[in-house]
Amino acid sequence: MSFPWANHYEPQHPFMRYMDEKLPLPRFIYNAIGGGYPVPRNLNYFWNFGVLSGAALMLQIVTGIVLAMHFAGNSALAFDSVEHIMRDVNSGWLMRYAHANGASMFFIVVYVHIFRGLFYASYKPPREVVWLLGIVIFLLMMATAFMGYVLPWGQMSFWGAKVITGLFGAIPVVGEPIQTWLLGGFSPDNAALNRFFSLHYLLPFVILGVVVLHVWALHLPGSSNPTGVPVKSEEDTVPFHPYYTAKDGFGLGVFLIVFAILVFFAPNFLGEPDNYIKANPMSTPANIVPEWYFWPFYAILRAFTFDFFFVPAKLLGVLAMFASILLLLFLPWIDTSPVRSGHYRPLFRKFFWFGLMPCIIVLGYCGGSHATNGVVLVSQLASVYYFAHFLIILPIVSRIERRCRCRTPSPKACLARLRPHNRGLEKNGSHYRFSGRPVLFGHARLLGHPHRLQYGV
């Protein structure tokens, strides 16, 4: 779309020419995911995960529609109707296990996708709108997954719904009326279940719509790449089809193998046994835990254990939990470094691998455990780091790293500063080139002149 050297769609067959005149859908597809979309040739496997997220979304929609044909969105019938699907509906067990584990697979691939965005700073201009739409998708996914988990009306469904909708009660004055209005009652019951079903059916299509915008916004600047240096010429890119359709096809195969192992051989591995007990408002489970993909956020929610002056702890927890995600919206402006890829940001990379990643894993572990004092203390410290990473460390790191560039006398020295272990840089005409294999991922030519690295925007 945006590259002057992109291939042009030229329909051969008279029928396709007719189509192109009346409804240029083939042209649209050709330009979006066909030979007409140039993609950097040096992408690594992390760049597969956008397409995998799309595949996971489609799997959820297809299996979900089949389940909805047999499900009863009524608190007296829901649990038994799920068992009816598992026992009596032809291949119903397959649809249900695929949908339940599909949700986990969806979050796995989206988390890798976000991880890619964070490490390679894909969120930086000119792709900041792509990133913002990604966060919107992520929020919609969380809402969808939460409401979907309520539908089978097991113990965890009910108590999870109670805890999460109870969060609205934390808002001063208007909180409780809002909560009652949202639930259609004082506690989750038939009214809540029914509207959750309605919304759980609707939201995936909203997600689909936002995904279209997300990909549209991406196609204007085109994909970034592991070096973070923008592509300059036709040599740096390949047409999406057949190059990336083939590579993504392979990625899809690996994804489906992992998915099939879960569905066929360990379908309840990621689930909580309590959800095979029918919802019972009179009996609280010993440990109310959400699904694994919410654990880090749940840990932040529970990290606030004491009221602070007049602000109740619960409200602080709710605000912090939402802030932990909304914070990511500001990332394109928090991270001011002109260098994009984590491979060329030694300091950023240290905080990323030894700060942010362990912090999120620890938060996830705490969110899934019973909230003893020790667990709460650890999640408090990890939450502090989480916010500090984005609000303090990242702005400072991205400034210090820039200054390092300014003081270097020559492009060569600058590059050596950025990647001190790089050896084998040679002058080649007006370009610097690497000999040997110093580049971690991909293709030396893209690196080109090291000054492009510095201004890798």
């Binding site: 590579k247 099939a260 606030f304 004491f306 602070f308 602000v311 502090v384």
Partner: protein, 255 residues
């Protein structure tokens, strides 16, 4: 604010350390049992399921329902149609008198589900010291450890250890309760359903646990049977896509 919470939590940990509880110290992990249905090619042992049904029928059905399971499903256990009908007829299911419309019971048919032994939870409580015996249809998936948990529970009854009572006098097993270290809070309202010192108990516990696994996951064999070919297909598919990926990229990788 987080720091404030953290400092107060830390202070509490030091000043008021959580007291040890009897559950923490005496709760035991499930025993490990090997079942024929484990592993990716596992299958149910029909004879074991039939023996397990027998145990359910003779012992557990007095208190526990199996309301998600239909008698016709018993064909999976290797029973012929006639045998299924005979088994169903041994249960009474609620119905209405076709003439008077009054509630009554009739003999079960293949199309019925296993009934619950009590009309409602209040009746169940009244008959069981205030505890409701849970439906067993999904029990093997509703507890950590599944069938191994059921086996451990059934074979885990024992006298309450002296040290426990000494250390936690408040946790002494109450009247109408029975000590069992596999149960979450160590004391449950179910009297040992299988005699504690009987030579048959171990086998019966295993059989009924396997039977309850079948009741909870009747499609396990279909799942395993379709999983293997699905996986083989996907591996071939992935191998083919990998090969085409290599072929398509061959000219680009030379640089």
């Amino acid at each position: 604010m987080l720091g404030y919470s953290a400092i107060r939590t830390g202070y509490n940990m030091v000043s008021d350390p959580a007291a040890a509880t009897a559950e923490e110290e005496f709760h035991q992990h499930v025993k490990s049992v090997s079942f024929s249905f484990e592993g990716p090619t596992g299958k149910y042992d029909r004879a074991q399921l039939q023996r397990g049904l027998q145990v359910y029928h003779e012992v557990c059905k007095a208190c526990h329902g199996l309301t998600q399971v239909a008698f016709r499903d018993l064909a999976d256990l290797g029973y012929a149609e006639g045998q299924v009908k005979t088994i169903a007829a041994e249960y009474n299911v609620p119905s209405l008198n076709p003439e008077t419309g009054e509630a009554e019971t009739r003999k079960g048919t293949a199309a019925d589900k296993f009934p619950s032994p009590f009309a409602n939870d209040i009746a169940a409580k009244a008959a069981n010291n205030g505890a409701v015996p849970p439906d067993l249809s999904l029990m093997a998936k509703a507890r950590h450890g599944g069938p191994e948990y059921i086996y451990s529970l059934l074979t885990g009854y024992q006298a309450q250890p002296e040290e426990l009572v000494k250390k936690f006098p408040d946790s002494k097993t109450g009247p109408g309760l029975h000590y069992n270290p596999y149960f979450a809070n160590l004391n449950l309202a179910m009297a040992p359903p299988l005699p504690v010192d009987d030579v048959e108990t171990d086998r019966k516990a295993k059989d009924v646990s396997a039977f309850l696994m079948w009741a909870a996951e009747p499609k396990l064999e279909n799942r395993h049977k379709s999983g293997i070919p699905a996986l083989i297909f996907l591996i071939l598919f992935t191998w083919l896509t990998y090969m085409s990926y290599q072929v398509i990229w061959a000219d680009k990788k030379k640089h």
